[in-house]
Amino acid sequence: MSHRILIADDEPNIVISLEYLLKKEGFEVAVAKNGEAVLALAGEFRPDLVLLDVMMPIKSGFEVCEGLRADAAQAHLKIIMLTAKGRETEVAKGLALGADAYITKPFSTKDLIVRIKSLLA
Amino acid sequence: MIRTRLVAQRLAFLFLLGCFFFNYPLLSIFNQGGSLFGMPSLYAWLMGSWLALIGLLALVIEGMRD
């Protein structure tokens, strides 16, 4: 049974790399290019994990995180926040909002996969 | 209380009001006989306006207290 992962990022190249990476690992992948789309797709696609970029148009990653956590239907959802901003305040904020993990870009692909697998275990 | 300029000035205004109440020409108006509340109009006017002025004095003084 393959897990479903939702990629939320507006940088096309990063999306491509993540898509390829995850598909290679055998995950089912869906892509959302902005905050609103994430919430919509979360309902449809019913992912097990979301890779959530913070800087996105319409709704920021933080807002999406809040929204997802507020939704009882997504209680089981794991959220990994991705961002190029690495300040401690941002990290704390993310974790406080309910993210399960917070990874700064550029990330190590190996690291990312290990994290995802451990969260889904 | 009277130390406040405002109170002193208000009281001075009442002074002028009193001068006006208690003298000609208002007196002349009420001096034409006839009665007011069962009393001669001049008497009623003077006693009434006097009491009213006292009331205003009290209001200015006591009203300024905390």
Partner: protein, 929 residues
Amino acid sequence: MLQVWVIVLASFLYLGVLFGIAWYADHRADHGRSLIANPVVYALSLGVYCTTWTFYGSVGRAAANGIGFLPIYLGPTLLFALAGFILYRMIRVAKANRITSIADFVASRYGKSQLLGGLVTVIAVVGVIPYIALQLKAVSNSFTILSSYPEIVMPASAGAVPLFQDSALYVAMILAAFTILFGTRHLDATERHEGMVAAIAVESIVKLVAFLAVGTFVVWGLHGGVADVFARAAEVPEVARRLTRADTSAAYGSWGTLIFLSLFASLLLPRQFQIAVVENVDVKHLDRAVWLFPLYLFLINLFVLPVALAGLLHFPAGTVDADTFVLTLPMAHQQEGLALFVFIGGLSAATGMVIVETIALSTMVCNDLVMPLLLRMRWLGLAEKADLSGLLLEIRRWAIAIILGLGYLYFRVAGEAYALVSIGLISFAAVAQFAPVVIGGLFWKGGTRDGALAGLAIGFVLWAYTLLLPSFAKSGWLPEGFIAHGLFGIELLRPQHLLGLAGLDEITHCLVWSLLANVGAYIGVSLLRVPNAREARQASLFIGGTDLSGHLAWSGSAGVADLLPLASRFLGRERAEDAFMRHARSRGLHSVEELPGDARLVNFAENLLAGAIGSASARAMVSSVVSEEPLGLDEVMNILDEASQVRAYSRELEQKSLELTRATAELRQANERLRELDRMKDDFISTVTHELRTPLTSIRAFSEMLQEDPKTDLEQRSKFLGIIVSETVRLSRLINQILDLAKLESGRAEWTVAAVDVGEVIREAADSLTVLFAEKSVTLDLGGCATGLSVMADRDRLMQVMVNLLSNALKFVPAESGLVKVAARGTISEVRVSVTDNGPGIHVADHEVIFDKFRQGSGNTDVLTDKPQGTGLGLPISRQIVEYFNGRLWVESTPGNGACFIFTLPRHSGDNGPAPLQAGNDNQPGGAQ
């Protein structure tokens, strides 16, 4: 029941109660627990204004004159409305200068003049004697009437009764004894008599209650209420006359005069000044008195007219003196208890007045009249006497006795000529002579001692001539012809028609002349010279509100060894030592001996003595002890100068602190701005980090993936590598732009400035982008570019701007149908270049936002939903460049209508000469190149 002995016993009982209250209050005061430190007590004690004049005389006046009794009470009401300006100031000044009487006030104000003090005392005594006589008359008459019960008999005329059967004499004697016991038991440095004030307050209550009792009895006992009394009065024409006043100007004139007169009398009568000013415990008590005292006056006058009318209705005309209605009406209806109570009320009113008035007068006589005279008579050797306190008390006792004696004398001589009220008005007019010097003293710095003397003297003379002497003449003690024909038979000098002035009642007539002359002389003589040093100093103390108490008027010195015995002489050893001890402690010393013989000590001693013997005498005594170096006008002026310097300095300080506050506000603002800039810097760094890391992420991810799996298929491999390359390029470009921007903003950029042909630059820029335009199939129209437009600029940088604008336009226009138009025009002073596209347009809200670093107008999501391409730095850089050359770069656009970016640069008139104002109709083949 109402036998003589009952009346006498009741009277003595009442006086005994009063005395007991006074004694108890003094006892409490000595132990520091004052009974009278209470605004209600203060207000009630002011009720001493109401004497038998009020108690008996008002009804008499009402019976003759209707409401004409009332103005005497309206005046004080109005005076208290002016409390803030007159009374408050007066009390404050009196306390600050240790004023003990009205004579002291005037003397002190005009340079501590003993002569002035003496004159005021004489006027006060002479003026008030009729008033005292009036009290004696009232008490003795009421006694006679009451003891004739059940018959109602009017007392015989004053002079008719033989001396030793005259109850008035005994009344005078008893009152004298009582007053002496009351007020001269000891000498108080402040001349305050707590016991007296307590007794007076009680006495005010008694007379009010008595009057209200008889009023209630008459209105509801004898009649059916207020309306009934007036209705019945209206029925009888004779009586009905009283319900209105004469509607003549003379009547209104005298009405107004009486209000005005009583306004001053309620402050300037010695007993009023004593109670209101000297005995005042706390100036804050004045607040409540402002309305409580007028209320008291209102209540005690409430029933006057009804009682008068009832009396007129009840007694046949002319049988009963209207002054006695309050007593005779209850008597006529067998109300014995009430009648006795009324008598006690009247006695109370008389006693109160006599006590306070004679004590006040005796103080003045002692301090301002007798002592100065005695001290001047060196042959008496008073200056050497060890203890003068006993002498002072003796003088006062004799003064009380003599004043009462004179009062009785006046009563016998002139008491029949007038009704009670008229006698009182004579006294009012006398003390009214103090008004100019007192009011002037509080508000005008120009008043001098000579002016005061002149004003008082002439006012007094005219008063005596127009009012006092005629009262003697009307009683037969001076030839009648005096009134009718004037002094020495000169018609113009007729005392009540001076210089032929007719048509005024005698009071108004007197006031007109006396006050006119008084004020005229006061002002006129004062203006003859400038106030001298002492007068100026006193004027400042009384008026200016400058507290010169820190500046001592003595520049001489005397030691404790001289000053303490001096004080002891007048205060008694114990009190003097006490006071000096307190002074020493207040200066942080432990014993009186340690006090240095400096000016401060002398000042203290002078103040202390002033409390006992008046400020003028005190000054005289102290100066005899002190080796004084008199202060010249210069020195006083220096002191005053210092005061004004201090004021100027404090004004400066105020201004400086104002500036300081303003500076602080500005600093705070600047700080805010700095903090904001700091925040912006943080934001910038954070954003730059983000922008740099984003391409790095892709580069790393793809590189790792390629590394991980060497067997990735070729298609994927080349795709990935392509991305890596392009992201690297993106990264480098970003880094370059950031550095560029940093250089531009910090001013460290290098510029090569030369004359540049704008048209050429535009064409070059367009050329460099041809391929990209073709790729997207977008049309580039350069038709609107005029030639010969030259600016002074850095060619490369200008290129950078053009490329930026063109590539932006290219980015946002739709493929295939995209159109970008470039136009360049020139005026005499500037060159204007515009780049117009038919893209989605930009919201007005974003017109400035897009020029912010890294901002790409993505805040307005109507137009852009995807992440825009580009770095977000192009426009900020372009703007920096354009503005460096004194140009402007901005955008005009609305959503849906494309965007037009415009920049202007100052035109350079180079070798080409001034460019013609072309409409730019050069026909350059536009269209795709």
